[in-house]
Symmetry: C2
Subunit: 116 residues, 2 copies
């Protein structure tokens, strides 16, 4: 079992040519005994974004707070607190913040994919 | 792909001998093409709780808002906004609200388990 809190997990900062102003935290993963899927927590700061990329595993995401967009299948879709999305395997996608506040979402992936 | 919002999904109310003051929503499931795991959204109203039960699949949960507790391995653990937990397969567990406000959490399960 595991009971934790985001304040007790150090974030990993991501900032390069592909990713801007993103912090990620692994909340539950294979080291905790999660054998089927893994739960991550992402904060995208103002003007930040994840990479535009494609991979052979899906995302299930839920917006905890803030306002952003997800690019799937050639267009941008709005995301607000309470939004949820499935990005299927093999589909090009990107997440971005479109407000001045931090855009925060959970992102679950199947086991076997890189956890963070 | 799927992009949705909690306001666009009708909740299922649960209230019986085992479950009190709980609403559940299936956010992403197998009908959406999610083959590995499923994402649900639960609201537990004041004095509400899920059943004390055991089953052969795990939960990964994240607290969206409110204050509650989870019973795992014989004791209650506090949960606040930003808490996350893994309830392993085969372990007796229960969630309950301990405040006057709604306690809201996401609960992910592997595919094959009952979705709601």
């Amino acid at each position: 079992m595991k009971v934790t809190h985001i304040k007790d997990i150090l974030p990993v900062s991501m900032d390069n040519d592909q990713v801007k102003n993103v912090n990620g935290r692994l909340l539950v993963g294979k080291e905790d005994g999660a054998t089927n899927f893994c739960m991550r927590y992402f904060e995208i700061e103002k003007q930040g974004h994840t990479p535009m990329h494609t991979h052979d595993w899906e995302h299930e995401i839920f917006v905890h707070s803030g306002t952003g967009e997800v690019f799937i299948e050639g267009k941008w879709h709005p995301l607000t607190q309470g939004s949820a999305a499935l990005v299927p395997s093999g589909v090009e996608h990107q997440f971005r913040n479109i407000s001045d506040e931090v855009f925060i979402f959970l992102c679950m992936i199947p086991s076997g994919a890189p956890e963070l």
